[in-house]
Amino acid sequence: MKDAGILIIGAGQAGYQLAVSLRDAGYEKRVLLIGDEPDLPYQRPPLSKAFQSGDCEAGQLTFQTEAFYASRNIELMLGVRILHIDRERRQVTTGDGRCIEYDHLVLATGARNRLLPGWDSTTTGLLTLRTLDDARGLREALNRSKQAVIVGSGFLGLEFAAVAAKRGVGVRVIEASSNLMSRAVSSPVADAFREHHESLGTTFSFDRGVSSIHTEAGRVVGAQTTDGVLHEADLLVVSIGVIPNVELAKEAGLETANGIVVDLNLATSDPSISALGDCAAFPSRFANGHCRIESVQNAVDQARYLAQRLTGHTHGFEAVPWFWSDQGGVKLQIAGVAMNRADELILRGDRAGLKFSAYGFSKGQLVAVESVNRPADHMAARRLLAAHAPVTPAQAADSQFDLRTLLQPVA
């Protein structure tokens, strides 16, 4: 095999960071970054926040200029889909019929939005949010909207809800479970955010799904929920989670299970193929078995790690997962991913004043910390989790006890 170099499929946060980190680590052979979106690689987090409120434009979202990639000898192929991987010949086939060889292939294919049954992309006002293109359409629709219904109360839906409510749009959030962000976040924190959203004028329907979408002349006019109520809407945003893009891997015979399955080295069962980011299911000591983490931190840390591994440094991937969400100015930071495993929850701080943290313990071990407007607690939590510090629930409950003392070596 000639020097075909490293081919990265997916030019999102993970793919971009991997390309840069490979060059930072001194990798000198070909680095080819291929993405199916036409835009230069860009930030996704602001798409549901500052971009929707008009506080930033698309130009501020790109990670780097085109000249940057040329200067680092990173080849970019944008607007190109990969249709097939030939593992034996170590080459991929593009949508326009080209064959590209690789020494090592990295799948950073990310995820796509889950949609409601009966989805029709031609219906005006029926929208979802993942890409810059989606975000442009959504912002335009928001500018014309008076009454929005948002399906799904995860981080993305709630961030958008806050932007819409702050600009005077009537917002109703439909949620299948009994609380906000219920997949990821503890009850006290969910309740605090619910109060905050309600103070902005947003209303919630819990334990409900959407049974049908009502349209007139090709535009959304309402959403009917499973209790029979028809909610008027000129904008219906579907934010019910994502499906990892595993199809290419699966077709190539790689194992997939809620993501492309990789080991602690982010390697698939094929020694020439790795995967990372939103599409990859990897074993983490912070979760129970394999997990797939959708966050900037995970994409960036895994990319930096993989660049090290592909340039000859070997050790397992161990970064502490952390995440943030900004909902109408209330900042939520989360360290660790296993809050849903917590059998004991300790609160610290001022719950009523929306400045508090929730410490989750599973069998006496700290597994996750959610901080609402308490960044110092969050930074300490990242360090405590990284260090396996022996935090006890009693220590977390004692507001006079400085948890950072647990980071110091015992005398």
Partner: protein, 64 residues
Amino acid sequence: MRIKVDATKCIGAGLCVVAAPEVFSQNEDDGLVIVLQEYPPQHLHEACREAARLCPALVISFDE
């Protein structure tokens, strides 16, 4: 160029520090951005612009 930061949006990702360590640092305790040089010298301007682009919370802006 004058550096402006909105610390209320900062979530301690630290990407600014990686891009321009002469200009940005992180508070030890809460991870929030610290601007070391409000008026950085010319040769650091490009690194500062990169820091602004890489920040996932869009905290950094400029008066040029």
